[in-house]
Symmetry: C2
Subunit: 394 residues, 2 copies
Amino acid sequence: MHNFEYYTPTRIIFGRNTENAVADLIKRYGGKRVLLHYGQGSAVRSGLIARVKKNLDEAGIFHVELGGVVPNPHLDKVRTGFALGNLNQVDFVLAVGGGSVIDSAKAIAFALAEPNENVWDLFERKRPPKASLPVGSILTIAAAGSEMSRNVVITNEETKKKRSFGDALARPKFAIMNPELTMTLPDYQTAAGCVDIMMHTMERYFTSGGNMEITDAIAEGLLRTVMRNANILRLSPKNYNARAEIMWASSLAHNGLTGCGNDGGDFSTHNLEYELSGMFNVTHGAGLAALWGSWARYVYNVCLPRFVQFAVNVMGVDATGISDEEVALRGIEDLEDFYRKIGMPTRISALGINLTDEQIKEMAESCEKATGGSIGSAKRIYFDDMVKIYEMAR
Amino acid sequence: MHNFEYYTPTRIIFGRNTENAVADLIKRYGGKRVLLHYGQGSAVRSGLIARVKKNLDEAGIFHVELGGVVPNPHLDKVRTGFALGNLNQVDFVLAVGGGSVIDSAKAIAFALAEPNENVWDLFERKRPPKASLPVGSILTIAAAGSEMSRNVVITNEETKKKRSFGDALARPKFAIMNPELTMTLPDYQTAAGCVDIMMHTMERYFTSGGNMEITDAIAEGLLRTVMRNANILRLSPKNYNARAEIMWASSLAHNGLTGCGNDGGDFSTHNLEYELSGMFNVTHGAGLAALWGSWARYVYNVCLPRFVQFAVNVMGVDATGISDEEVALRGIEDLEDFYRKIGMPTRISALGINLTDEQIKEMAESCEKATGGSIGSAKRIYFDDMVKIYEMAR
C-alpha cells in the first residue's frame, strides 16, 4: 500500500432539473462574466443552451459564448476561447457538454489566468500551471470524468499530437449532473462512454503492487455497476436510473477514489490510445476498447494475481478447477465479449483503420516520447512493447 | 433515486510519516496563529504533540495549546478553547486526535468566527453558522469520520444533552492520516471505532426508498472490508495494512459517499445512542452496537428488501430455501455475533447499565425533542417506538 493524497473539491449537484442552479453556483464562486463553452450543436438543438442563457440573464450574469468544440478537442479552439475571454474580461468558464468541452474549458481557463504564457507548454510539461480561472460544468455525456478530475487532454491538430497533464488547479468548482441530459446520446457514444469509465477504473486497478482492499471493492463494484447498466441502456436508452448510475460512475472512476493506495495506476492503454485518436480521430472510448485486450494479453502474466482477481470479482469467472492463467485469460475474453455486445470494437481494424507498419512505428515513437520513454505499472512497457501491442491489436 | 449534493473538499494526506507535512499544510490554508487542540494525553505520551510543535516552530508558526478533550466532548472545553483562541488571535485550529478532538476543534472554530454569538445555539439549531475558522486534523483514532464530515457533536455536560448539527462549513481543510498513529489504541476503542464506521454506512444504507446500485456496492464493500480487517486487528493490532483499511473506511463512511442517491439515511440508532452516551457517557461505538440489533428487529419488516440485501451481500447469508424474513433476521444475528466477537456489547446491560423505566422515558422524551418529534427512514419512529427500542435493548 502506498501513501496517497486525495483531493476532490468539486461540488456535485446531481439529479433532475439541477441545471436550474447554474447561475446561483457561478455566483457562489465569484463569477460575474462568463465564457459559455459548448460543443457541436446538440446542446443548442435540445434547448439546453437557451435555458442556461436565460438562467444567467435572469441572474444578471454577463456571458459570451463559444461553441463548436469537437471530440478530441483542438488547441486552436482553446486559442480562440482565450482571445474571446480575454477581450471580454471573463472571470469564469462554464462548460456545457462532455469531457471534450470541459477539457477545452479547462485549457481556456488556464490560458486566461496566465495570459502571457503559451498554454500548450502545460501539455508538453515545459512548466507547471500557476493559476486557473474557476471552471464549472453542466455535464451532458457520462464518460471522461473531467467534471471532477485533475486532468486535461487537448489535441494539437497541426502536429496531430494529443497530450494531457494533471494538476489540482484543473479540478472544476462544480459539476451539475442531470442524467436526463444524457438520454439523447447515440448508442455508440453511450457505449464508448461506458468503456472510458471502466478504463479509468481499470487503469488504476491493474498495478503490480500497492493495493487497498477498500479501493478494490469500490473499483470492482463500480465496474459491475457500469456493465449491468450499460446492458440496460442497450434496450432502454431512456432509463433514468441506469443513466444516473453510469453518470455518477463516470465521476467516481476518475476523481482519484479508485486509485487510493495504488501506485498511480498503469495508464498504458490510455497513452497508446492517445496516439491512435491523435492520428485517426477515433472516439476515445472505442479506441480504448480496441486496444485493451491486446495490452491485457501482453502483460497479464507479470501481474497475474490482479488479473485473476479481476476475472473472479468483476467478470464472475468460475475459477473452479482451472489454472490461474486460464482464469485470467477468461476474464480478458469475457470483457472483450461485453465490449462487442455493446457495439464496441476489440481490434483497431474494427474502427475501419488498417494500420501500416510505418504508422505503428510512428505511433510508438510518439508514445515513447510523450511518456518520457516508458509507461505502465502492471508491466513497464517501452518502445518495442508498444509496437508489439499495436501489432496485436491491429 | 433522489437528487443529491456531494461536496468533500477536505484534502487527505494518507500514509506513513505524513504528519511531517502539517506546517506546510497549515500555511497553504493561510494559518499563521494556531490553536493546537488535543485529548487526554496519549498524543503527548507518544511524543506526537512534541513533534507537531517542533514542526510548527521550525516553520515559524505561532501556536497555543489546549489539551484534555474527553470522549463525548464538552461544551465547557469549547468555551475555554474559544477564550484562549480569542485572546491569542488564532486564525487556524489544528486537532490532533480522534472525532472528539476534531468535533471540539470544529466547535471552537465556529465560536471564534462569530465571537458575539453563543455557539451552543448552533447545536440547538437556533441559527445556522455564517462562518468558521479553517480546521485541520492529524487523526489518531479511526472511527467518527469527523475528519471529512460536515457534522459536529458536542455534549452540554450541565444538561447532559449531546447534540449535533451539520453544515458544509464544518468540513475541515485537510486531514493527515497516518495509520501508524492508531496502532497503540486499546482493543476496545479499536472495536468501538469499527462499529462507528460501520454504523455511519448502515445508517445511510437502511432506507425505505431511493437507492443507487453504485452507492450500495461501495457501502457493501466498505462494510466487508471493515469486518475483515477488524478481525485481523484482534490478533495483530499493529498490522499496518489493516489499520490503513479501517482508517480510510472511517473517512469514506461519513463524508457523504455512502449516501449518494439515498434519502438522507435513517440515523435512528445514532439519535437513540446520543441519549445513552449523553446520560451515561458510554463510548459512542459501543452504545451503537448495544442498540442496533434492537432497532433492526423493530423495523426490519417494513424495510425487508434492504435487510435481505444486507444479509446476503454484506453478511454472506445463504438465502437458499429460507424466507426473506428469515434471511433478514439471520443477517441481523450474524452482525450481532460479529460485534460480540470483537468485544462489543449487543445489549445496554452489557455496558454495565441497568436502565430503569424512568430513564427510558427520559431518554425517549429527550430524543423526541432533539429530533423534532420523530426520526428514521427505514421506518419513521416516534416517542412510543423509541421507548420500545430502548426496552428491547435493555
